[in-house]
Symmetry: C2
Subunit: 357 residues, 2 copies
C-alpha cells in the first residue's frame, strides 16, 4: 500500500513541529472528501456516512493524530466552547475551590476555562471582560459582581453573553446567581451563640458594597431581633482581610465594651479579631467567643480552632457551571433574570465559641 517513507529528515528547519494534520490530509489518506471526514468524525452527523467510510476515516485520523482546529471551528460555528471566569483573587481560598469546581464540570462537557483576575478593580474587570468577548467566550462566570449594577453584567446583557454570578450577587439581580444563603449563615452563628447564653453580641461586617457583606449583616440584625437582642454593635471592615478585621474589631470594642461574643462575616476577619483580642489580653473563647464564616482551609488548625459557617465553595462552582451550561444548551429562553440558587450553609462548631462566663 502507499505507505510513504515517513522517515525523512524533518522538513522544517525552524524547529517548528510537523504541520498538524488537517481535515484535508485525513481525507486524502482515507480516500474521501474532507466534508465526509468532518461528518464521520462528528458523532452527531456520523449517521450520514457509510460505516466502511467512517471506519477508514477514524483509523486514518487516529493514525495521523488528527486534532480539529478549535479556532477554525469557532470561526465557522460562532461558538468557541470557551467559558470565561473573572475572579477577584485566583489564589484566594474562597475563590480557588469555586474555580476548581466549575472547571471540573465544564471540562466534562468539552468546555475550557479561561481565567482572569481583575482583583478588586472594576475598570480592570471591564477590560478583561472585553478581552473575553473578543475571544468569543460562550459564557461568563462572574465572581466579581459588586454594587447595584455591575458594569460587566451590563455589558454581557447588552452583548447577549450568558453570565452567571458566583458567591456575590448584584443588589438588583439582573443575572442568575449561585450564592450561599448569607443571611441564613449569620442566623446559624447567632443561634449558636445565643444558645450558649450570649446576649451582648457584636458583628464584624464585610464591605457593605459586596452582597456578602450586606446580606450577612442583615442576617445578623434579623437573628438578633428575633431574640429581642440589641443589634447595634456592628463595625464594617473595609475589606475581607485580617488587618481590616483587626481594625474593625478594635473600633467595635472601643464603642461597645462588654461584648461577650463577636460574629464575623468572614474567617479572615475572625483571625484579625483574634489578633486584637490577644493584644487586649483576652482569651478566646474564655473571655470572648468568636465565629467566622466560610470555613476556609486550616480553620480547624488555628488556635483556637474556629467555629464558623461552612459554605460549599466547590459546589458553588459546580452549580454555577451547570446553570451556565443549561443557558448554553437552551439559548431560546431568556436569561430568567434574578433566579438565584441559594446554597444552604452549615455551622461547624469548634473551640472558639463557649458559654459566657
Amino acid at each position: 500500500m502507499p505507505s510513504a517513507t515517513r522517515r525523512g529528515s524533518p522538513p522544517s528547519p525552524p524547529a517548528s513541529g510537523p504541520a498538524a494534520p488537517t481535515l484535508k490530509k485525513v481525507a486524502e489518506a482515507a480516500g474521501v472528501h474532507l466534508s465526509t471526514v468532518s461528518r464521520a468524525l462528528n458523532p452527531e452527523t456520523r449517521h450520514l456516512v457509510a460505516e466502511a467510510a467512517t471506519a477508514r476515516v477514524l483509523a486514518e485520523a487516529a493514525r495521523l493524530g488528527y486534532r480539529p482546529d478549535a479556532a477554525a471551528a469557532a470561526l465557522r460555528t460562532g461558538r468557541s466552547r470557551l467559558i470565561g471566569a473573572l475572579v477577584p483573587g485566583i489564589a484566594n481560598p474562597v475563590f480557588a475551590p469555586i474555580l476548581a469546581g466549575a472547571e471540573a464540570v465544564l471540562a466534562g462537557r468539552g468546555y475550557a476555562l479561561l481565567v482572569a483576575d481583575p482583583g478588586d478593580d472594576p475598570a480592570r474587570a471591564v477590560t478583561l471582560a472585553d478581552e473575553m468577548a473578543s475571544r468569543r467566550v460562550d459564557g461568563l462566570l462572574l465572581a466579581t459582581a459588586a454594587g447595584h449594577d455591575d458594569p460587566v453584567v451590563s455589558r454581557c446583557l447588552a452583548r447577549g453573553t450568558p453570565v452567571v454570578l458566583i458567591n456575590r450577587t448584584e443588589a438588583e439581580a439582573r443575572a442568575p446567581a449561585v450564592v450561599s444563603d448569607d443571611q441564613e449563615g449569620l442566623r446559624l452563628a447567632i443561634e449558636h451563640l445565643v444558645a450558649l447564653g450570649h446576649r451582648r453580641i457584636g458583628h464584624i461586617a464585610g464591605p457593605p458594597n459586596l452582597s456578602t457583606g450586606a446580606l450577612r449583616r442583615r442576617g445578623f440584625e434579623a437573628a438578633m431581633a428575633a431574640h429581642g437582642l440589641d443589634a447595634s454593635a456592628i463595625a464594617p471592615a473595609t475589606a475581607y482581610s485580617r488587618p481590616a478585621g483587626a481594625a474593625a474589631a478594635r473600633q467595635l470594642r472601643a464603642g461597645h465594651p462588654g461584648l461577650t461574643a463577636l460574629a464575623c462575616a468572614n474567617d479572615l476577619l475572625a483571625l484579625g479579631t483574634y489578633d486584637v483580642l490577644a493584644e487586649a489580653g483576652l482569651r478566646v473563647p474564655d473571655d470572648v467567643s468568636v465565629t467566622g464564616h466560610n470555613d476556609m482551609p486550616m480553620m480547624d488548625m488555628v488556635a483556637p480552632p474556629l467555629t464558623t459557617v461552612r459554605i460549599g465553595h466547590a459546589e458553588m462552582g459546580r452549580e454555577a457551571a451547570h446553570l451556565l451550561l443549561r443557558a448554553l444548551d437552551d439559548r431560546t429562553t431568556p436569561p430568567t433574570r434574578g433566579t438565584a440558587v441559594l446554597l444552604r450553609p452549615t455551622l461547624v462548631i469548634r473551640a472558639s465559641s463557649a458559654p459566657p462566663r
Copy 2:
C-alpha cells in the same frame, strides 16, 4: 450564474445580541477598505496608513465597539495568544498562587490563560494536553510533571509546543523549569535544627516520584552528612496530605524512637505530624521540634505557628510565564533543554522549633 441563491435563512441564534461588528462594518463606516482598517488598528502596521484615515478608522471602531475576532485572527496567523496551564489541584494553596502569578504577567502581554486540572492522573493530563493542543495554545505551563519522562512533556516536544515546567521538574530535564531550590530548602531547615542543638533528626519525605519529594530528601541527607549526623531516619509519605503525613510520622517514630526533631517535606505533612505527636502526648516544640516546607497560608496561625521554608510561589508563576514568553518571542533558538531557574527559598522561624530538652 455567479451569485446563486444559496442564502438559506441565516441560522440567526434567537435572542442573541446585535451581531458584533466586523472589520467590514468598520471599513464601510470609515469609507476605506477592510484591509486598511486592519492595518490602522494594528500599531505594528499603522505607519502604512495615512494619519487621517487612521483617525477615521479609530473613531469608527470605537463608536461601533469593534472587537477583533480572536478565532479568525488565530486561524489566519496560527497563533492563538492562549497559554494552557495544567495544574494538579487548582485550589491547592501551592498551585493557586503560581497560577495567579502566571496569569498576571501573561495578561499583561495579551495572553489569556486556559486552566485545566488533571489531578494526579497522568492519563487525564495527556487528554487535557491534547485538548489544549486542539485549541492551538501557543505554549504550556506544566505543574504536573512527574517521574522520569512525563508523557505530556514528550508530546509537547514532539509537537513543538513551548512548555515550561513549574514547581516540579522531570528526573531528566527535557524542558525548561522554574522550581524552588528544594535541596537548599531542606538544608536551611536542618541547619536551623542543628544550630538549636538537635542531633537526632528525622525526615518525613514527599512522594519519591515527584522531584520535590526526591530533591528535598536528598537535601536532608546532604545536610545531615555535612554535620556528620545519621540521615537514615526517613519515612516517605505517599502523597502531600495531612493523613499521609500522619501515616509516615507514625511509621518513622515506630522505627526510630528518640528523634528530637522532624523535618517535613511539606507543610501538610507537618500538620499530619502534629496530629500524631499530639496523639502520643508529645508537645511541639517542647518534646519534638517540627519544620515544614512551602509556608502555605495560615501556617503562622496554626498551633504552634510552624517554622517552615518559604518559597515564592507567585514569583514562580511569574518567572515561568516570563520564560514562556521569551520562548514565544524567540522561536528560532531551540528550547535550551534543561535550563532550570532555581528560586532561593528562605527559612521562616516560628514557634514549632526550639532547642531539645
